[in-house]
Amino acid sequence: MSEANENRRLKFEIFRYNPQDPDSAPHMQSFEINELPYMSLFMALNEIREKQDPSLQFDFACRSAICGSCGMMVNGRPNLGCRTQTSDLPDVIRLHPLPVFKLVGDLSVDTGIWFREMAEKTEAWIHAEKAFDPDAQEDRMDDELAQSIYDSDRCIECGCCVASCGVANVKGDFAGPAGLNRMARFAMDPRDTRDDSDWYEVISNENGVFGCIGMMACHDICPKELPLLEIYAYLRRKAVASALA
């Protein structure tokens, strides 16, 4: 992060389209604002909405890069708007909504429904064998294993990886990087009792790990820096092991 130049005038070019408005057609609209120290796109977009165009739609909630609401294309690259500092960007900032997801309006897209469908398709929950016993002590787990699961559980489902994925952009059924990560998260968790043949059905097909063609933009752009490279390698090993089993 570099210091903001307080005299800099920023020019925003923002994608506009309100599907609820019959008079609206997709277009780019320009806005100018003065840059402030430590200005994030959260601050900049709110200033534009509150001072210049109150109809502008975008999504923020936590504004601290943990809720995953504000994925957007920033000069052609997906990122979280809240953690993107204007001081890291050139004078002209071009913002588009994330591709792949259904547009709600302007920069706002429907990630919730996409991720719910993905969770349903991959059955992204613990398939427990036994019911919870409220009187029993918790089952033990090695701390290192807990840490590995946590590393993958940290995904905030912002959709940046999906937007950056060449396959997800053209193939609607592909689980996408976030979907593959979810599979790995449950596959490595001993509390999930799905066996090799169950996992083979989920992972080992063209909508699973073999749909990935290895361009790895997801790994480069993931705002939480998930170890996606290692995660796919884990899934491929798991696929081979379950095929052999």
Binding site: S64, G112, A124, W125, E138, D153, D189
Partner: protein, 634 residues
Amino acid sequence: MSGRITSTDVLVIGGGLAGERCAIEAAAAGHDVLILSLVPPRRSHSCAAQGGMQAALGNCVKAEGDSPEVHYLDTVRGSDWGADQEVARIFAEAAPIAVRELAHFGVPWTRVKGGSNSYFIKGERVNIDEALENDGLIMHRDFGGTAKWRACYAGAGTGHSALYAIDSEVVRLGVTVRDRAEAVELIHEGGRCHGVVARCLRTGDHSAILAKATVIATGGHGRIYGQYTTNATINEGTGAAIALNTGVVPLGNMEAVQFHPTALSPSGILVTEGCRGDGGYLLDKELNRFMVEAEPEKQELASRDVVSRHMARRMRDGHGVQTEHGPHLWLDVRHLGDEHLKTKLREVWEICRDFVGLDPAKDLIPVRPTQHYSMGGVRVNKEGEAYNMAGLFAVGEASCWDMHGFNRLGGNSLAETIVSGRLVGRHIAKTIGAGGVDVDTRVANEAVKKAEERAARLLAAEGSGPGAYEIRDAMAEVMIGRVGIFRTGEELALAVNELKELLVKCDNIVLRSKVPGMNPELTFALRIKNMVRLSLITAMGALARTESRGAHFRSDHPLRDDAKWLNRTLARWPELSDAPEISYEPVGVLDLPPGHRGYGRDERIEMEQTIEDYNQGVEQAQSEQGKLPTEGWQ
């Protein structure tokens, strides 16, 4: 009109931890459940809870001797005796079960490592041998205001992991979630709630959702402090407001507002108490650890209200680092080392890098106390039932259940969400009737029509009236300036007047954007009057309460007054009235007699009544305020 009415057994408003935990309990019992959420559930503010969830499992050496009893005592003392002690006990006893159940749902809790472990305790590096037979059990970290290490955690993403685990259960059970939707009004008739009018935040359309049980789980309302809060932008008190707007449901203890000691300056982003729990220091501008002198026993791990006041005093006395955004102090976690920071406090490490360009292994973190938690909310009985309204429930931060009283302990809110969600969900599942929703569709249609007309009127208003954002900014300045950490009668009286003026302005708002659809300006304008109402109740409650208790500190009445104020504030807003009505009820049956909290000097005004006399009057006094008899809401 019938296409605009949906029916369900249980309607849960809010897709955070409390709401979803409640939803899966009712769904697992076979009921039809619908969750309404402003955002996709996994984006709810529960995901921002970092450091831990309190449950007395007693798994590590520094937790030895812990029990629900000790947890209960910490919670009541932490509340400055403002809590309902019966609820605090129910909570402390159920917390271990709820936390273990989260392990069952998949939370990757950090685990005990048997053998030698290195910790930082009160400024010293200490080596402790964890028992080999405890290896692999759920680990604890230290948090403020507790006698034992009790906070269970998953890195510094405890809320995130818990929310994802619970939401996975929501998916598994096939619970319907309607996201990007806001409950704008409760549908009720004759003291019974029948569901809500919902506004779709994709299209701006209104519809009715009818339910036999309606649960408010919308979280806190920190955004009444504008940007001076750690809360997400969605924490605007939408749930508390629709309960208040019934005219009969009271909100409890709205003046009890928690300021978290370590929010990042100036953005207000939370930096977890786990930093201090793991051994971090607070430093002033001269790099003095001022908390050691201020509170020799607990030091940085005194209760949040205590630490926040010491910090505010330190800055007021000129020991803060001056910046264009006002003063701040430092949080120092450098000595914890790179590896610890990148694993057990990874979210903190990322936040420092992304939002202030710092490496906490090398740099000091600029922090200052910031609004963080709403102890107040929809007043409910121990089963989660709202006062005066059968079929309406509240859980989590949106509620005033009331285990926190006037100061919540760190890690207790996250535990409350799953404990209250679980218990209230179970209560609803058990007591809900078998028949359909018993309400005339005319009532629902009228409520929808009223909400539509309100939106249409706002959209149609022309002229030079005030904007909604302008009112928000003025409200925020009043709240942080006059209803903050230190309060006085004079400032609070000014706040009440200014907020009343803002309330009048809310009726003259003119929108600049008339676009169809959800229209973000309209969406916010529909909320702002409710936010000013919540602010006004907060200020009026604070003005009336002429004592200092927990987070409510009156510089002009610095002592806790158990003779006069061992009670809970209740605020109702009668229909068509331009001001709320404030009344009081006893805090609940006392088991632990009021005593010294353990901070500063032991000075307070003692109760005049005997405990027995106080306890005898509780049930009747609370019933008079509208508390429903339990098991009787059908």
